[in-house]
């Protein structure tokens, strides 16, 4: 049994949600006024607050040298967990013991100052991430080589291309030498080659016996890098163990068995309307849990409008479970009267490859979404045998879109 470097017991993080105001700024006047009002009503506690458990009684432990992938949908509590482990926010309950120097990389280029040169930012960023001056000096050449920015070392980073900026920022972080490295979704930026380089570097780091905690929506990256995993769902720990198991459970969790999704009215009293339900259907209007590959399908959105609207737009988006947007479609803006509505969006042009996709639905007025659901509806394009044998599709791995296009070949000599 290898020794435990991270031990988390009954970790809970609670946030208070305020309903009356969307703004995160609170002024002293508001607080005082609320207190006075509450006192006048004879209440001691402020009843308008609702609590929300971002992390709900989580316990786990991690052995030295483990590369742990933390997966889960948006809002599962992954980032909160990393923030608590990095000591940025304090837990509400529970106890965490960390054995070793911790460095966390929750954002690429934290503290980079646009006016400073690349060289200056390496020192600044390094010290923010917890490196001493001597350490940075020792690693300086390596960092510069990794980032491939030798020629621009003395240029202010505000003149850098976004690619150079990200490379430099990651390069500094990649040369940290902590015993425990915490990384959040930083590979979402940068081009494919650089992402590969980063993953390679993280593997190297792990090879030196360091422990890595890694959050990503990119299951491919998680699978390549990690050996164990933790699956979170709505603040609770669902499962932990071997990475393949955990990813499998995560994908299962997302798999679509439902054809019609109902929505609770969103919190917040004064909305002009809401989505009631969303259904995936075949062309004859029958709800289906799976869409056979190469068939046409449609989405039915039932929604209610409470107030007259001037500039209403219904929009739909499709993305992969790896959070890669595939397509966004929207209606032209129109005025709406109060009532209940039924909208049908026909997908009869582009053929998606088999797999599970997310459907994102938004209702907006004056370009502002008042009801937006990006995390509930999933659908599956199934690899059914219903495709006719004479279809020209041979290889599903050729891409997300299966449509063919005309190709003309003509002999010219």
């Amino acid at each position: 049994m290898s020794n435990i470097v991270i031990d988390v017991q009954h970790l809970t993080k609670q946030y208070e949600l305020r309903h009356q105001k969307a703004s995160s700024y609170s002024t002293l006047r508001d607080t005082l006024a609320d207190r006075v009002k509450a006192l006048a009503k004879g209440q001691l506690s402020n009843q308008t607050k609702e609590t929300f458990l971002a992390l709900d009684d989580i316990s786990f432990s991690i052995a030295q040298g483990d590369r742990v992938g933390i997966v889960g949908r948006n809002g599962a509590g992954k980032s909160t967990l990393l923030k608590v482990l990095s000591r940025i926010v304090a837990p509400t309950k529970g106890r965490i013991v960390l054995d070793g120097r911790v460095a966390s990389l929750l954002e690429v280029g934290t503290g980079f100052h646009p006016e400073l040169s690349g060289r200056e930012n390496i020192f600044l960023n390094g010290s923010i991430l917890g490196m001493s001056r001597d350490e940075i000096k020792k690693k300086f050449d390596e960092i510069v080589a990794f980032a491939e920015v030798e020629r621009f070392l003395d240029t202010p980073v505000k003149r850098y291309s976004s690619g150079m900026y990200v490379r430099l920022a990651f390069a500094v972080a990649a040369h940290l030498e902590p015993e425990i490295l915490i990384v959040d979704e930083v590979l979402a930026v940068g081009d494919a080659t650089f992402q590969k380089k980063c993953l390679g570097r993280m593997k190297e780091v792990a090879g030196e016996g360091r422990t890595i905690l890694f959050v990503s929506h990119n299951m491919d990256a998680v699978q390549k890098l990690c050996n164990t995993g933790i699956l979170l769902h709505k603040g609770k720990l669902v499962t932990s163990g071997g990475i393949d198991d955990v990813i499998g459970k995560y994908l299962d969790q997302n798999s679509s068995e439902q054809a019609v999704f109902e929505f609770d009215p969103p919190a917040g009293a004064d909305l002009p309307g809401k989505i009631d339900s969303v259904g995936i259907e075949n062309v004859s209007g029958k709800p289906v849990a799976e869409i056979p590959v190469l068939t046409h399908w449609q989405v039915r959105v039932n929604f209610t409008i409470y107030k007259p609207l001037d500039h209403f737009i219904l929009g739909l988006g499709i993305s992969t479970l790896m959070e890669q947007p595939v397509r966004t479609v929207w209606d032209s803006a129109k005025p709406m009267k109060p009532g209940t509505y039924d909208a049908v969006v026909s997908f009869n042009d582009i053929m998606l490859a088999p797999g599970i996709y997310k459907l994102i639905i938004g209702l907006s007025e004056q370009q502002r979404n008042f009801h937006y659901e990006d995390n509930v509806v999933t659908f599956e394009v199934s690899d059914a045998a219903e495709a006719k044998p004479d279809d020209r599709i041979i290889n599903y791995r050729s891409g997300l879109i299966l449509n063919q296009c005309p190709i003309q070949i003509r002999q010219i000599s």
């Binding site: 940025i88 926010v89 304090a90 529970g94 954002e107 600044l124 923010i128």
Partner: protein, 278 residues
């Protein structure tokens, strides 16, 4: 290893001051960042650090001579300079440190380090400006031909008192600022008023030696922590008699000392929730 960190709810980290020592490099780098960045893309650059105190000195010397405030037979411009320099240190350190947390939101929500490093680093930057403005003072003293006496050796004590006061209030208001942005608007205004109620264009003796002023007003006046500091600076640099009676001096200094204790305590108690509330 030997680097065990225990995080528990409702408990302050026991190794806070040890952490502060570990992160001392960051203190230096943040101050260095602010200094380096400050005068980028300006034409006259660091000269700005001299122009602001110079103009203040000119204006207040002019005001003082119009109203004919008491100079105890000393050069008016030196009296004003010896007051302006600590005042600018105090007001800049107070303003900057109380805004420092909010303007470094990106750091607070993304990395861990003892948060007190942020206001401390802004005070370091202000001390650098202060050192530059001492050059003005030295130049003026040379020009006028004033030679300081042994009292100048006590000047560091009064510089320390200035920093203690500014940092104390700065920590307190900085922490409040995280939750209540009101202080972002209120504080600069109060500091601006302080410029007029502090003994810059006049001497404290103008207040204390007035028989028609009620004793309560004199006590109220002494609650300004800058009274002790400014009269202290004047005494150290220009000699003569100390401009404040001991009891008033003690009151004024005590305000700074109370501020630092309250400031640090409040800062430490609220620090854990900064990332949640900022």
């Amino acid at each position: 290893m030997g680097n065990r960190i225990v995080i528990e709810a409702e408990k302050a980290g026991g190794n806070y001051w040890k952490d502060l020592f570990t992160f001392k490099g960051l203190l230096y780098f943040l101050a260095w960042r602010d200094v380096t960045v400050r005068y980028k893309q300006t034409v006259i650059g660091v000269a700005w650090a001299l122009i602001r105190p110079l103009l203040t000195i000119v204006v207040f010397t002019f005001l003082g001579s119009i109203y004919g405030t008491d100079t105890n037979g000393m050069s008016r411009i030196l009296l004003v300079t010896a007051a302006t320099i600590p005042w600018q240190l105090f007001s800049a350190a107070l303003n900057d440190s109380s805004n420092s947390l909010v303007s470094n939101t990106n750091l607070i929500t993304k990395v861990y380090f003892p948060r007190i490093i942020i206001p401390l680093s802004t005070v370091l930057v202000c001390l650098l400006d202060f050192a530059l403005s001492l050059l003005i003072l030295a130049g003026l003293m040379l020009y006028i031909g004033h030679t300081p006496t042994w009292t100048i050796s006590l000047l560091p004590l009064f510089i320390l008192l200035t920093v203690i006061g500014a940092l104390g209030f700065g920590l307190f208001f900085g922490a409040l600022n995280v939750k209540y942005r009101d202080f972002r608007y209120a504080l600069p205004f109060v500091v601006q008023l302080g410029l007029f109620v502090s003994p810059i264009a006049f001497s404290s003796s103008d207040i204390y030696n007035r028989p028609e002023l009620h004793e309560a007003v004199k006590y109220l006046y002494s609650l300004n922590p800058m009274v002790a500091v400014i009269e202290g600076f004047r005494w150290c640099l220009l000699g003569g008699t100390f401009g404040v009676e001991l009891k008033y001096f003690l009151i004024s200094s005590a305000v700074s000392l109370v501020a630092i204790v309250v400031g640090i305590t409040y800062f430490r108690n609220t620090e854990k929730s900064f990332a949640d509330q900022i």
